[in-house]
Symmetry: C2
Subunit: 258 residues, 2 copies
Amino acid sequence: MPELPDLTVFSENLTKRLKGKCVKQLEFYAGERIKISAAELEKAICGSIIENVKRAGKETELVFSNGTKLRVHLMLTGRFAIVKNYGALDWKVITLLFEDGTALVVSDPKGFATIKLNPEENLVPDALDITKSYLKEKLLKKKNSGIKVFLTDQKVVLGIGNAYVDEILWHSRISPKSLAGKIPDSAIDDLIAAIKKVLLDAIEQIKKADPEIIAGELRNFLVVHNSSLKFSPTGHKIIREQIASKTTYYTDEQVLYE
Amino acid sequence: MPELPDLTVFSENLTKRLKGKCVKQLEFYAGERIKISAAELEKAICGSIIENVKRAGKETELVFSNGTKLRVHLMLTGRFAIVKNYGALDWKVITLLFEDGTALVVSDPKGFATIKLNPEENLVPDALDITKSYLKEKLLKKKNSGIKVFLTDQKVVLGIGNAYVDEILWHSRISPKSLAGKIPDSAIDDLIAAIKKVLLDAIEQIKKADPEIIAGELRNFLVVHNSSLKFSPTGHKIIREQIASKTTYYTDEQVLYE
DNA sequence: GCCCCAAACAACGA
DNA sequence: CTCGTTGTTTGGGG
């Protein structure tokens, strides 16, 4: 369940470690949910060189020298690993073997991770690129949605998941139960500022704490979505509650617009 | 909001009073929700003779000598009237003028009543024709529906509305909140018996109280869905509650299967 | 109270 | 915790 900040750092580090490597061979353990075949993948990727690894929303995209793109969604429990002896890893979903003997492995004990070959470009904006005019339009179109559901809807904005949305809403002092259509204009400004601040700060924190990270999640710096805390930085009691079937942390500092 | 019993008596009485009458002229006040044109209606009906009036679920169907069928749904507030001076009536939806100078008027102050010309045959069975095997199959297919919602769903069974469903469920001692899929076999027998008994008894009551009725509703004989009662015939307090946004009357005699 | 449609919500599986 | 699908519920309008 890494979200935008984790995945941003992962892709930077994956670029550093994989750029220029040539794929020699591929192992692919397809579940039914992945529609491409091993043969198709092999043809598209084997022999070509990784040029870049970038984040696309909550997915990670490998860009190859021949223009092929391979997009990985880690879902809840997927992980990247770069190893010499990939045979030792369990729950492999796909393995790219490089000519230098190393391998990139995507593994997932739950088996939910997905792979897409040459996906369509995303039409939905990334959280770091969000504009006020876009957000206002969407808030009105989905005026009866809860704001938490709204912000984690990948058809609205890409990259925000269940943990960071709580941080963003606390920083903008908006209750997670507020209705999308009822957020006043000034709070929309606060919200957009919070989205960028929270996510960019988290990227910095993660880089500082583990500069080489390509898997797992670092969350100990979260100030409300954090089960080890009782109070927000401003001393208000943190409330833990299921909202829209998701564990949610918030405080009474956050205004309920409805 | 007449339901099956009222509409059954209406159609019998309309047959008695209209059979053999020839349509001379037609006035049609179409809302947007009715897709047929006055011209179309005129061509199909003018000059032909009413052969029969029958109930089709919650609709009333006029059958003409030329085979044309005109189906009327009264919705919440529609009414039939047979008059000499139809000009005096408000909220007319459609008026059929007969050669003998009388007119059949469908009026509706809310304007929700609908008219269909030569509709498809109903594929859904009428409440009075329901069989156990059919009901069991549907109960399983919609196993997570509330039984009250289920029985008033016109895609499941035709003719039961918000008032009579409460009577039926009380007579079969099934809580309106029971889940369709959890009703035991013996209770399904009770339910089917109650559907028929409640509806047929109501038809008799209505005929006795007002043998000529073609509009309005007679409900004073209902034993639970009746705001003037505090207790069921067996002395249990009647509970009034909104269930699935409908006013519902029931008692604690009714078993909750879930 | 009736019915239709669209949007929101819940449950389930992968 | 994630996403897609499916079915159910809710709200608005006619």
